[in-house]
């Protein structure tokens, strides 16, 4: 391999490739529909993708430590319902307690996942498949199946996500802020380094004094807190809370991670990659109506993109690892 190719690390090269692909896609759509690149449209695209970005960053942490969080969308829906009910019960409390409540409740739900995985050593996919149903069921019990509608929400509750600063919504700023924080934290924080180590090789991590289970707990808790926050944001943005909000959204979140180059077997992934992966999906989603393709094709295209992304990363891999793969001699 040449020296120039070496200057970029493997993950940086993957991020660059993905960014180039996203730009090509963006350029193609813009050529056909010049309005696509208009600032207003781009701000809208970011606004539409913001929640996906935040959730995918949380999910990435969990996948990094060899876990997966299937309950992420159910957590979001439950915390969103809690936020809506809290706002209805105490309309005068303002937004800050709502934010605190949704973060805290999400963190507790995430920590519950984390504890089951850490202390009882249960397989992550089974744990979160279970809690996914539990959290959804809990919404029904809380709300008795009723909706919380726009007219039951206070103006401040609704306005927070829509406030605009320098042309971008609160949602967009939050997503960019989270992305920046993750990029910094994953590079520089010791606990992040420990997570990469625990996901990359739990046994060697144990020899270096890192408790891989504890890292999983931390990842699930952070992921849960983000899901909880997104619960409030989702409810405020769409101005409605009911049992089935964000149903199946966990799959889009996981898809964004995989497209963004996060290794499903753990230990590899970057925040920039995830950010680009989300934007990639966002571009596809918002360009489909322009091209005249039904939005129902979105799922089909998401799936195809995942398969292509996995195929590309499988070909560049030196040491195959198997959690979800079949080992071959």
């Amino acid at each position: 391999m040449s020296a120039t190719a070496r200057r970029w690390s493997e993950s940086a090269r993957r991020d660059l490739t993905l960014a180039a692909l996203a730009l090509v896609l963006f350029g193609a759509v813009t050529c056909a529909f010049p309005g696509f690149a208009a600032p207003g449209n781009l701000a809208g695209l970011l606004d539409d993708t913001a929640i996906l970005i935040m959730l995918a960053l949380g999910q990435m942490l969990v996948i990094l430590v060899r876990g997966i969080d299937l309950s992420i969308a159910a957590n979001l829906a439950l915390c969103g319902m809690l936020a809506a009910l809290f706002n209805r019960a105490l309309p005068g409390a303002g937004v800050v307690p709502v934010l605190a409540l949704s973060l805290a409740s999400g963190a507790i739900l995430g920590a519950f996942n984390g504890l089951l995985v850490w202390k009882l050593r249960l397989p992550p996919i089974v744990v979160t498949l279970g809690t996914m149903s539990i959290y959804r069921g809990a919404i029904y019990l809380l709300s008795k199946g009723a909706w919380v509608n726009e007219n039951e929400m206070t103006r401040g509750f609704l306005a927070f996500t829509r406030a605009s600063f320098l042309g971008l919504s609160t949602l967009s700023w939050l997503a960019l802020g989270f992305a920046a924080a993750f990029i910094f934290a994953l590079r520089r924080l010791r606990v992040a380094r420990d997570m990469y180590a625990a996901g990359g090789n739990p046994e060697a991590a144990a020899y270096a004094g890192i408790d891989a289970g504890r890292m999983q707990f931390i990842a699930y808790t952070i992921c849960g807190a983000i899901a909880g926050l997104c619960g409030y944001l989702w409810v405020a943005r769409f101005a409605v809370a009911y049992t089935d909000i964000a149903l199946g959204f966990e799959l889009q979140v996981i898809a964004a991670c995989l497209i963004g180059g996060v290794a499903i077997a753990g230990g590899k992934g970057s925040a920039i990659g995830v950010l680009i992966g989300c934007l990639f999906l966002g571009i596809i989603r918002s360009s489909l109506p322009l091209v005249g393709i039904s939005a129902f094709w979105q799922m089909f295209i998401n799936g195809a993109v995942i398969l292509i992304a996995v195929l590309l990363s499988a070909r560049s891999r030196v040491h195959p690892r198997s959690i979800l793969e079949t080992p071959r001699p």
């Binding site: 924080l189 010791r190 606990v191 990359g200 060697a204 020899y207 270096a208 040491h319």
Partner: protein, 485 residues
């Protein structure tokens, strides 16, 4: 005597740069048990893998009944009548005994397994072997010894003519061994050619008719067992000139650094007592499974002892003990990490005291060690995955030496790495003890143990079976203590 059933001549096999077999040969006769003897790393396992079709030899000839054959893959080996009973007991725990016997060869009509026929044929074979379990038993419920019988029965179902037993007795009790040997004799009487691999000389003399000795990938002797004795076999095994590879530096041995008192862990090792002094390298020799790695894991704190204590000298307690584990890929390094991140990992408390990592500090530390250990990497940022085995091992050693421990435990520090890297590892070890630290070196490599140690402890079946000073230790003595002659 009749012509051999299976003959291998001039077998060569390399993996990457490492030569596993240099010029190996073997003859197996019908109705005879041939014992294959050699140190760890002499090439026995590679030969077994060639016979079972897992690997292809680079050069050399295999004759079956005088006709040259090429064993393409394990299925082909099975069709040629060659079967292996593996040390690790490769049995499907989730299937019944009968299903295990017919794996990949079920009697079937248009894809439907004829279950009754399979069970009946399995029962016949098990009865032949006087097995004490029936064909319907789930294999997971069997003991290790019974699983060996299942593997042998599988070989019989295949009409095996050559049966390879790869250290079958390593995890069997004496009574279970007797049972196994009864079956082996029965197969021998039926005209089967058997290859028996073992480190235990008493068993070899009990069961084998012929012997073949491997050393460093070459055949160094073969013949009828009745013509040789135990001492001659050991001499054949180790009789190489010990290369002057070991830059052993004379050190002054100082005060006691680590004291281990009657340390035990159930099922792994028992009643281990020894002490380590400053400036000293204590070698621990033994065969695979003697409990050496388990002892190291307890000293390092991966596992806890059930009884006994170990104490560091008061002024060394803060510096502590570090362990370079045996398996550098799964326990030693994070392959996906860069050289710098690997070396930094156990040192982050110093490098990132407030939880914030500095890439520059990590790269500086890595550069120091890359120079000191002559690690062949393009720089601190190179991924460890892309380094050669020897350089990976140097990174693992660097990451622990950078912590400046008072005691360093090296578990098979030079296993599978090339001569140059070996010398570098030995040099840095010598330098480290010279500074007044202590090293415990676990190794199955006799020249390494003899060349590097100030004192050698020998472990066998979880217990200390001998202590030799540097002057008194010889290959013969160590091997005899380790292999219960």
């Amino acid at each position: 005597m009749q012509a051999p059933h299976l003959t291998l001549t001039g077998i060569r096999k390399s993996f990457g740069g490492a030569r596993a077999l240099e010029c190996a040969g073997l003859e197996l006769h019908r109705g005879a048990v041939t014992a294959l003897i050699g140190e760890n790393g002499a090439g026995k396992s590679t030969l077994v893998k060639i016979l079972s079709g897992v690997h292809q030899p680079d050069e050399g000839e295999i004759l079956l009944d005088g006709k040259p054959v090429r064993i393409a893959d394990p299925v082909h080996a099975r069709r040629l009548g060659i079967a292996v009973v593996h040390q690790e007991c490769l049995v499907f725990d989730n299937l019944s005994v009968a299903e295990n016997l017919f794996v990949n060869a079920q009697p079937a009509t248009r894809g439907f397994v004829r279950a009754r026929e399979m069970r009946e044929r399995a029962s016949v074979v098990l009865r032949d072997l006087d097995a004490d379990f029936d064909a319907g038993t789930p294999a997971g419920a069997l003991s290790i010894a019974q699983k060996h019988v299942v593997q042998i029965a599988r070989a019989l179902v295949d009409q095996t003519r050559v049966l390879i037993l790869d250290e079958p007795t390593a995890s069997l009790s004496r009574r279970e061994c007797t049972e196994l040997f009864r079956i082996v004799r029965k197969l021998r009487a039926a005209g089967c050619a058997l290859l028996f691999i073992s480190h235990k000389f008493d068993e070899i003399f009990e069961i084998a008719d012929r012997y073949a000795v491997f050393r460093d990938g070459s055949s160094v002797g073969a013949g009828v067992l009745a013509d040789v004795n135990h001492d001659e076999l050991i001499r054949l095994m180790v009789g190489r000139p010990v290369a002057q590879l070991f830059p052993k530096v004379a050190t002054t041995v100082g005060s006691e650094l680590l004291r281990v008192d009657h340390l035990s862990r159930t099922g792994e090792f028992a009643d281990i007592s020894f002490s380590l002094r400053r400036g000293e390298i204590v070698g621990i020799y033994g065969l695979v499974g003697a409990g050496r790695t388990e002892l190291a894991q307890v000293l390092f704190g991966i596992n806890r002892a059930d009884a006994g204590t170990f104490t560091l000298a008061a002024d060394a307690a803060a510096a502590g003990i570090a362990l370079v584990p045996e398996d550098r890929q799964s326990q030693g390094g994070i392959l996906a990490f860069s050289v710098a991140a690997n070396i930094a990992l156990p040192n982050l408390a110093t490098l990132a005291p407030r939880g914030l990592c500095s890439h520059r500090a990590e790269a500086d530390l890595a550069r120091q060690w890359i120079d000191r250990l002559e690690i062949k990497a393009q720089g601190p940022a190179q991924t460890v995955q892309n380094l050669s085995g020897g350089n990976q091992q140097k990174v693992v050693i660097a990451k622990w030496l950078a912590r400046k421990p008072a005691v360093l435990i090296l578990d098979e520090p030079t296993k599978g790495i090339d001569v140059g890297a070996k010398a570098a590892v030995h040099a840095v070890t010598s330098e480290y003890v010279k500074a007044g630290n202590g090293v415990i070196m676990i190794s199955s490599d006799l020249p390494e143990i003899l060349g590097m140690s100030d004192r050698v402890l020998v472990m066998r079946r979880g217990r200390l079976r001998g202590e030799f000073s540097r002057a008194a230790a010889t290959s013969e003595l160590l091997l005899r203590a380790a292999s219960e002659a």
